[in-house]
């Protein structure tokens, strides 16, 4: 026992834990939220391929949220892991190992390994530096995949991806029913894990890293190890998302590694609001839906309207949609209580 133990012996187990417990508990809103994909299955049965792509992108955004929203690592190259996962699953399926779950595991392993290795490049430097290093890594990977045409098919894409039925039983059908259910189940499972993670001490420590990375070592936190860990986890998630895309499309194209994909992902996450998990899901959904809707209405100039939408969001709802919702919620609560406190709880510093 260290000498200072005596000081802490004035333990007080009776501290009020209500707020902490509440933060970790599932709320009604969350249950309702997860009913949406179920409802969508019945409401939009004609667009299931699109819906599964939303689910995949949401998972991808979730993976970025883990590293950006919780650990504060800005990345403009997250597509690297997405792409690795996509190719891993695609190549396996091309060479006869088309069992979907096997593809997921392989993609997770490969992307995770790459994330682990590249995370060591990110330990020093400021945001801009990290942005550029992640970007550089992913661009080099892109060029590599582009050059290795024999392996990857280059810009023409990887063909001959043949998938076995899911669990040996469910074929991927033209309507995309199997694919959709598959994607949503994987998304939910991984979300659930991520949710546990961020409410556990690890998640708390990561928020600490994001808010004040200088102070953390002085509390005995091995910051580097934490960054490596979460970056690897993020890469695994991204890899799984990539594999899902391959499996629902039966095709891999070079653009899984593209800069545009990374950049768009960042936009989606920021749009939804970083650091709340749900922001990632909402951001991906809203962005893709808006994109699809606008492109449908105005195939040539939809970009203008999408851009306008983003600009307006920033002008009128800081911290993305989740930030806006939180402020709305706080306002409603204040109004209903007459007055009083209750600002946004997770108001991390800018």
């Amino acid at each position: 026992m260290s000498p200072a133990d005596a000081a802490a012996d004035a333990r007080d187990v009776s501290v009020e834990l209500g707020p902490l417990r509440r933060a970790a508990r599932w709320t009604v809103w969350e249950y309702l939220f997860w009913l949406l994909p179920v409802a969508a299955y019945f409401a939009f049965g004609d667009s299931l391929l699109f819906l599964s792509q939303i689910a995949i992108t949401a998972l991808f955004a979730l993976s970025l949220d883990l590293i950006l929203g919780y650990a504060g690592i800005v990345s403009l190259g997250h597509a690297a892991f997405f792409g690795l996962g996509a190719y891993a699953a695609g190549l396996l399926a091309k060479y006869g190992m088309g069992a979907p779950l096997l593809g997921l595991v392989a993609a997770a392993a490969l992307a995770g390994f790459a994330g682990f290795v590249s995370s060591f490049l990110l330990l020093r430097g400021n945001d801009l530096t990290r942005l550029m290093v992640t970007l550089g890594v992913s661009l080099m990977l892109f060029e590599l995949a582009n050059k290795l045409t024999d392996l990857t098919g280059g810009v023409d894409g990887l063909q001959g991806v043949v998938l076995r039925p899911l669990l040996g039983r469910y074929e991927f059908d033209l309507y995309g029913r199997t694919g959709y259910i598959y994607c949503v189940v994987v998304l939910f499972a991984l979300f659930w894990l991520a949710r546990r993670l961020v409410h556990a001490p690890l998640g708390l420590g990561l928020r600490g890293v994001r808010q004040n990375i200088l102070r953390m070592p002085a509390l005995g936190v091995p910051v580097h190890r934490r960054l490596v860990l979460i970056y690897t986890v993020g890469a695994v998630y991204a890899g799984v998302a990539g594999a899902l895309l391959t499996q629902t499309n039966a095709f891999v194209s070079l653009d899984v590694l593209s800069f545009q994909r990374s950049a768009e992902l960042l936009v989606m996450l920021v749009l939804g609001g970083a650091g709340s998990l749900y922001g990632a899901l909402i951001g991906a959904t809203v962005f893709m839906a808006a994109h699809d809707l606008l492109a449908g209405l105005n195939p040539q100039y939809w970009q203008f309207w999408l851009g306008l939408f983003l600009v307006l969001i920033v002008l009128f709802a800081r911290d993305g949609i989740m930030g806006g919702l939180r402020r709305l919620q706080a306002a409603v609560r204040r109004a209903s209580r007459g007055s009083g406190a209750g600002g946004p709880r997770e108001a991390d510093e800018p």
Binding site: F304, L306, L310
Partner: protein
């Protein structure tokens, strides 16, 4: 020797199209990913002036810069100003939104195709010296680049305006407290950054082409230069651009198989060696 010269010219071109960002991102700390949109605006302004109004090239360049600066000043007044205090991520989202709008706008007004640009005869061709074939336009770029560096270096480092700008970025409230007109300083600086972007865009049309995809096509290069040079350092940007240009050109000439990798590899290595950039004086926010 010719390769070295080409590398320098290529570096100066990189510098010219990025220096505006070095001002808005580096000095003002605004993550202005819409930099390329201002550059594109300058490019279109130059092309329109040349082709539609027959303005001579040497006059069209400063005019394009001026128009871009005006556009920058207006947008600063109505939009950017509200976002100085927003988080980095909000600034990213906002400026990407502007990029989308500008791309669609350019598509609407000018169509999706490349814009033609004919240089005046005296800027075409090569000068042949012993051991060196120097493109005239490349020489011209180098001259303009040097002029800009000297001008900016003087403005930012030697004048009180530069100090006032940095003070305003560091702490707006206090800058007002000591009597600095922060709004004016920001407007002027943003206009300067936009003007430089416009000038870079106009100068770049000849070598980079011009179509509505311009703002995203070269965004990576802008960012590389600023990151490697160090936020807020004009000198750093120039040196970074030169190193990148020379490495890129030499790499492509001598090891063409690795052509695409050279610039990224150089960037990553330099950033690992100097995480704050060559002349980085502080973390970007």
């Amino acid at each position: 020797m010719t390769i070295f010269f080409d590398g320098i010219a290529s570096g100066v071109l990189l510098f010219l199209i990025s220096v505006g960002l070095s001002v808005t991102l580096g000095l003002m700390n605004f993550i202005n990913l819409a930099h390329g949109a201002f550059a594109m605006f300058g490019g279109y302004a130059c092309v329109v002036l040349l082709n539609r109004y027959g303005v001579p090239f040497l006059a069209a360049l400063p005019l394009a810069a001026l128009l871009s600066a005006l556009l920058g000043a207006v947008l600063e007044r109505v939009l950017y100003r509200r976002l100085y205090r927003a988080s980095d991520l909000d600034q990213v989202l906002f400026s990407i939104g502007l990029v989308f709008m500008s791309m669609a706008g350019a598509n609407y007004f000018f169509g999706p195709t490349q814009q033609p640009l004919a240089l005046p005869a005296f800027l075409q061709g090569q000068i042949h010296l012993p051991g060196l074939d120097a493109g005239v336009y490349r020489l011209f770029l180098i001259a303009v680049g040097l002029a800009i560096v000297l001008l900016l270096q003087w403005l930012v480092v030697r004048t009180r305006f530069g100090a006032q700008l940095r003070a305003s970025v560091d702490n707006q409230r206090m800058a007002r407290g000591v009597g600095i007109d922060v709004d004016r300083v920001f407007s002027l600086t943003f206009a300067l950054g936009s003007g430089l972007a416009g000038l870079g865009g106009a100068l770049g049309v000849e070598m980079l082409g011009l179509d509505p995809g311009f703002p995203v096509k070269y965004i990576v290069y802008f960012l590389i230069v600023v990151a490697v040079g160090g936020s807020g350092s004009i000198k750093g940007s120039l040196i970074a651009a030169l190193i990148l240009g020379v490495c890129d050109v030499a790499g492509k000439y001598y090891v063409p198989q690795a052509g695409a990798f050279v610039i990224y590899a150089v960037m990553i290595v330099m950033l690992l060696l100097r995480p704050q950039g060559l002349y980085g004086r502080r973390a970007a926010k």
